[in-house]
Every structure is written in structure tokens, then in C-alpha cells.
């Protein structure tokens, strides 16, 4: 007998099935008494039935506050089926060539995984250097990541609903407490760091904003400044990079725009603001700002339009030496490389895309100028890929990091908070 079937019979299902049977027997006895006495209330009929004609209140009866000692049916029932992924799935990626480290956020198992920069899997699972996970870590639906080579710290942003940034030392392992935690706005995603400013910048999807803190801010610390407002061009911002060499910040926008931004509420903690917003879905974009920008400032320039090929742009990587900006283009399984100074409906100067590349719903991208490499984290393939920095077209990666055996499918879940049943196709719909 299959394991789950035996567990089903010997535990949850058996218990759950017997209780209503016993209950029905009691009720049927009562029903006969009531029938003999002249009838039953309409709501007190039995049998599940399939006609749909019975009273909708037949089964449970109605309870009032004083009736609180009833044992509910059901209980600790084993699931008949489950779709889960036991392997880490990468979200953001950061590379530190100085300390020979690459680190990824794992949204599936809620961990942060780091590897030797030169690690390669072949056809096996790549042994990580470290993996930090567990209840002490405060790692949740973790997204953007930054590897601070100078302070040997990993900074990672929890997206929803932890509302924190966690900072881990490079040598953190297992169920380790963060070196520090910072409270940040709800639905933060990307993170960037500036050495010249000694600041970090964090994107906030819901608030269409970039918020800035001191690099070592912790606990409950107000932001130093923010970029926010209808003139900024920020629209569901995700990836962010801070180009210290040119004192510029670049932000990847999905294009979802909350209209007039009148609502200053906190999203999931509503404020009661009732102003209509009149949102819009704008074309995806990359917007550039001065590293000192604040408030409702217009971007210095934007990349936006059909020629740009932008489609769910996620993580960004900047190469100040070669004046290039790389984009993890999640929507069409590609990496786009633009001139750093591109503007308007500009085409990328290079594109890595195709079946040989192994790029599959990329979430993060990082450029290692020291070793002339470009890193990509995949969301739908348990892999991170390493390309030559100047690769283009349908090329195979030079190295692969794997968290699962090759070909292992993944459901692609990322904090699934809703589900629907398509009765026409007998399919279950799970948005992320």
C-alpha cells in the first residue's frame, strides 16, 4: 500500500470519516423521534446528497456564541496530494569576486545559499559553501540581495510580509541569527549599496518608491530620503543598482502604476484613504536617477518601449568599466544588455536568449568585472548560470550551479496566497 494511502487510512481519514458517521446515527435517531412527533425543521435534514435541493443549512446546523464546545469534524488530515519543491529556488543573486563568493536568495525554502564563485555542478547538485535557514534567521519571502565585500556581509530583503531586511555575516551558517535586522516598508524587493554615500537603497513595489538608509542602519530607523511620486516614473519597481562611478541609480520597473499615488496608506495595513487612484499598466522601463535624488524627481533618463524588449525586468547589474547595464528579463527568458547611457526606446546591444542558454524565468543578474563573467539566477530551473560577460545569442553557460538534479521540475511558486479551481479543465490555478 502506498505510504500516503496507508497513512490516510490509519490516521486522518479514518478519524474524520467515523465522527460524522456516528454523528449521523445520533441525528437519524433524533430525526425519527422528530418525525414521529410531527415533523422536523427544514434545516435539520441529513445526508450530503447531490441534488442540491436540500436546505443549505442541513449539515452543520446553526451555532451561536454559547455553543462553543462542539468538536469539529475533520482535524489533522493528511493531504491527498501536494505540490511542493524540496529544493532551493533562486531569486536574487550577488557576486563578490574579491572574496570568491556568490550568494543567492532562495524563495522556496526560505534560505540564503552561498557558493564558491568558481563552483560548478556538472550533472550533480552543487555543494554550497553555506546555507542559512531556520526560524532564527528571519529569512522569509526573500528577494533582492547584495554582497558587501568590504564588510563581508550579505544584505537581503524580505518582500512579503516580513517587512524586514536581514544582514548576515559571510560565515553565518544554518539557523543563525542575523547580524542585524532593519524594518523596511511593505513589499520591498531590490537592494543596492553605495560606498561613496555609505547608504543602501531599497525598492518598494506597492509604494512605487526607493527608500534610502545608512548602510549599517538597524532595528527601527527612519529612511534618510526617498524617491517617490508621479513624476519619478517608478511603477512597481524591482531590481536596483547603484553605479558609484557615475553617481547614478538604475531601477527596473514592471510598469504597474498606482495612479495618482494619493493613497499614502501602508497597503496591507490600510489607512482608510478612499481617494480613487486610477491606476495604469505602463510599458516596463529602466529609470535612472542621480545618486542624490530625492522626492518626486523626474528620472535622468529612461529606457522604455518595444525596441527595448523589456518584459518583467527583474534584477539589474551594472558594469561601469564597459558602460553597460544588464537586465534579467524574466518575461521572455533572456538577459538584455544595454548601453549604460541608453535612453528612450533603445534596443539592447546584446541579448542572451535561446534554448542553449538554460535561462528560465531569470530573477537576478550580476556582473563580475574582475573575472569578466555575467551571472544569472533562474527561478524555474534550480540553477544559476555563468556566462562570459560579452556573450550574446543562443550560447551555453560556461558553468552551472544546481540545487537539484538536472531536469527536476519546479512548480514556480513564490509565496502563493490564492488559488482557484478551473472546473472546465480540472486544473488548479495558482498565481504568485
Amino acid at each position: 500500500m502506498p505510504y500516503y494511502a496507508s497513512r490516510l487510512l490509519c490516521r486522518g481519514y479514518k478519524v474524520y470519516w467515523l465522527k460524522p458517521m456516528i454523528a449521523r446515527l445520533k441525528h437519524r435517531r433524533l430525526l425519527w423521534l422528530l418525525l414521529l412527533a410531527g415533523g422536523v425543521p427544514a434545516w435539520f435534514q441529513f445526508g450530503r446528497g447531490t441534488s442540491g435541493q436540500e436546505s443549505a443549512l442541513d449539515w452543520f446546523g446553526v451555532a451561536n456564541a454559547q455553543e462553543s464546545d462542539v468538536t469539529p469534524m475533520g482535524g489533522d488530515i493528511i493531504p491527498l496530494r501536494q505540490v511542493t519543491d524540496p529544493y532551493p529556488v533562486f531569486n536574487g543573486i550577488a557576486v563578490d569576486p574579491v572574496n570568491n563568493l556568490v550568494a543567492m536568495t532562495d524563495v522556496n525554502r526560505k534560505s540564503i545559499v552561498s557558493y564558491d564563485r568558481s563552483a560548478s555542478a556538472g550533472a550533480r547538485i552543487t555543494p554550497p559553501r553555506r546555507q542559512v535557514f531556520g526560524p532564527l534567521t528571519n529569512i522569509g519571502f526573500v528577494a533582492g540581495i547584495y554582497a558587501d565585500s568590504e564588510h563581508k556581509e550579505i544584505l537581503a530583503v524580505n518582500n512579503d510580509i516580513e517587512d524586514t531586511m536581514v544582514v548576515l555575516r559571510y560565515d553565518a551558517q544554518g539557523n543563525a541569527s542575523p547580524a542585524r535586522i532593519l524594518s523596511i516598508p511593505h513589499q520591498a524587493w531590490g537592494i543596492a549599496l553605495s560606498r561613496s554615500h555609505d547608504q543602501i537603497a531599497i525598492t518598494v513595489e506597492l509604494q512605487q518608491a526607493v527608500v534610502f538608509y545608512k548602510r549599517d542602519a538597524q532595528s527601527v530607523t527612519p529612511p534618510l530620503r526617498n524617491i517617490r511620486g508621479p513624476n519619478t516614473g517608478l511603477a512597481d519597481p524591482h531590481g536596483i543598482v547603484w553605479d558609484d562611478a557615475h553617481n547614478e541609480i538604475a531601477v527596473a520597473n514592471h510598469g504597474n502604476f498606482r495612479g495618482l499615488v494619493r493613497d499614502t496608506g501602508a497597503g496591507c495595513a490600510p489607512t482608510g484613504t478612499a481617494d480613487p487612484e486610477g491606476g495604469a499598466v505602463l510599458p516596463p522601463s529602466i529609470t535612472f536617477y542621480s545618486g542624490d535624488a530625492h522626492g518626486d524627481q523626474k528620472p535622468l533618463r529612461s529606457i522604455q518601449g518595444i525596441r527595448s524588449q523589456l518584459d518583467f525586468p527583474m534584477g539589474l547589474g551594472v558594469d561601469a568599466d564597459h558602460n553597460e547595464l544588464a537586465v534579467a528579463n524574466n518575461g521572455d527568458n533572456s538577459v538584455l544588455v544595454f548601453s549604460r547611457t541608453a535612453s528612450g526606446d533603445a534596443a539592447p546591444i546584446r541579448v542572451i536568449r535561446g534554448d542553449k542558454t538554460g535561462i528560465n524565468r531569470p530573477m537576478g543578474v550580476a556582473i563580475d568585472i574582475m573575472h569578466n563573467e555575467l551571472w544569472v539566477s533562474n527561478f524555474m530551473d534550480h540553477t544559476a548560470l555563468v556566462f562570459e560577460r560579452s556573450d550574446k545569442g543562443n550560447v551555453a553557460p560556461k558553468r552551472v550551479i544546481r540545487t537539484a538534479p538536472p531536469g527536476t521540475p519546479t512548480p514556480g511558486f513564490g509565496n502563493p496566497q490564492t488559488v482557484a479551481y478551473d472546473s472546465t479543465r480540472d486544473q488548479i490555478l495558482v498565481p504568485n
Binding site: P135, V211, S423
Partner: protein, 275 residues
């Protein structure tokens, strides 16, 4: 049906879909074979054909200031009255549209205001037999008359320690006057109003998923009142669910589908007697 480490059979994704990567509600309309999905970050509800796949645009979009949608999180389809109900989180409202509404349209009904007690609204559903609307509110289930409009008080509530409903109950479904609720029981503390810190906090929020009071799937009768426990429940370590948020029903096969953010997974329970 999918089981184990399975890849999706189809994926609706891409810029043309107008979807965001934040979708906290979804509904399927079997009569018209359509999928409703909100885009809270663009104040919109998107409607897809049931067989949509890939980077496919929606067939209708409800969006614009007349819709009065502000961060819409939940949708529910009422097949009997052919209406779409949309809960907006940030302005604490419920808007009702005809099933085929499109564009910058006004809702036919709009529940909003201090009397409503609407707060953190995510789940909602209509019971045709009782003509009631059940709403998963901040820490309780509120009931309204289905045709309520404006600043109206709820007609009833299910609330209190015996219910087991804690912070931010999530998706809710109604079937034959039974309320099925994903009682998440996570503890979400948001220290910010927009991008501004609120006063009075000195510590960062605790991990919202470490609430020792586990979540569960609870089933109530829509005419239950007050502090009453669920009549049926799925809860405990063997169930594998910790803080469930998503919930869908398949009465024909006696199955309940549950998503859990901590487990990052989809769980199917065979519970024919719950229906």
C-alpha cells in the same frame, strides 16, 4: 492532478498579460470560462479567457478612477447573480461589478465607510440561499446583505477566541451556505505608513510566520453568530499546512485546495463530507 515536484501545465505571464507579480486573489467563472485576477499594483481587475496561456493579454480590464479600486486584493464571482465582487485593501471597500464589466466603469454597488467595519479585507463570497455576503475581515468574518450598498453595518459576525480566527484571515469561499476560510493566523506588523515610519515602534517586526498559533481551514455555517468554533477543520502537523492563505473548492470531487506561503506549496484534501 498534479502531485509532487511538478511543473505547471501552463503559465500566464509576461508584460502583455498586465499581471503583476503580486496576485492575492483569483476566481474562475465556469459559465463564461473566464479567469478574474486583480492587479493590486495597478488598481485593476484583469479578465482572461479560461484557456489563456503564455504572454496573452486579458480580454477585459476593469481599471480607472470610476472603478474606485485602490489596491484590489481579492475577487469573487457570484454565478447566480453574475456579479464580480472586488475587495480593495487600502481603502477598505467592496465594489460589485457586472460579470462583463470593462474599462473605467462605476461599480453597481460599493460598500464603504466607518459603519461597515471593513479593514483588512481579502476573502469574500456570496451565499445565494441566505442572500448574504461573507467577508474575511481583519480578524473576523463579517456578514452583509448581498445587496447592501454604501456605509452599512454588517448584519452579523463570527468573531472571538473560540473561532480560532486570528490576524488577517485570508481567502474565503462559500458553498451551500458553508463558509470555508483559510485562517492564516500569521502576525503581520507593518511599521510603515507608505514610506514613513509610524510612531511608537522600537523593535523591528517579529517574523510573521512564527506565530505558535497555527493556521487552519475552518468551515462555518453562514448563519452562525458570535464566538463559535468551526464545524469542520483541517489543522495540525499531518495536514502539512502552517499558515494557509489560498483556498479553493471542488465540491464535485469532495476536494479542497489550499496554498501555504510557508510551505510554498499546494495541498489537496479529500473531504467529501465537508460539502
Amino acid at each position: 492532478m498534479a502531485n509532487g515536484t511538478a511543473a505547471p501545465e501552463r503559465v500566464i505571464s509576461g508584460a502583455a498579460t498586465k499581471l503583476s507579480r503580486t496576485v492575492h486573489g483569483i476566481a474562475y467563472d465556469a459559465e463564461h470560462d473566464e479567469i478574474y485576477a486583480p492587479n493590486p499594483l495597478a488598481d485593476a481587475v484583469l479578465v482572461f479567457r479560461g484557456a489563456a496561456n503564455g504572454n496573452e493579454p486579458p480580454i477585459r480590464v476593469i481599471q480607472g478612477p470610476n472603478t474606485r479600486l485602490v489596491v484590489p486584493h481579492a475577487v469573487s464571482f457570484d454565478p447566480e447573480h453574475r456579479e464580480l465582487l472586488v475587495a480593495s485593501l487600502s481603502n477598505r471597500t467592496i465594489a460589485v461589478f457586472p460579470w462583463n464589466a470593462s474599462g473605467n466603469v462605476s461599480p453597481v454597488r460599493y460598500i464603504s465607510g466607518p459603519k461597515t467595519r471593513l479593514g483588512h479585507v481579502v476573502g469574500l463570497g456570496v451565499d445565494s440561499a441566505s442572500n448574504l455576503l461573507a467577508v474575511a475581515n481583519s480578524e473576523e468574518i463579517l456578514m452583509f446583505n448581498r445587496t447592501d450598498n454604501g456605509d452599512v453595518e454588517p448584519v452579523a459576525q463570527i468573531k472571538g477566541p473560540h473561532t480560532g480566527i486570528g490576524d488577517e484571515p485570508w481567502e474565503l469561499q462559500v458553498y451551500k451556505s458553508r463558509i470555508f476560510l483559510a485562517t492564516s493566523n500569521h502576525l503581520h506588523t507593518n511599521l510603515y505608513s507608505g514610506v514613513t515610519l509610524k510612531d511608537g515602534y522600537t523593535k523591528p517586526p517579529e517574523d510573521p510566520w512564527l506565530n505558535p498559533e497555527l493556521g487552519f481551514i475552518g468551515v462555518w455555517n453562514i448563519r452562525d453568530r458570535g464566538d463559535v468554533p468551526p464545524h469542520a477543520i483541517i489543522k495540525g502537523p499531518f495536514s502539512q499546512i502552517l499558515h494557509p492563505t489560498g483556498l479553493a473548492l471542488n465540491p464535485k470531487d469532495g476536494e479542497i485546495y489550499v496554498t501555504d506561503s510557508i510551505r510554498n506549496g499546494l495541498f489537496t484534501f479529500l473531504v467529501p463530507d465537508f460539502f
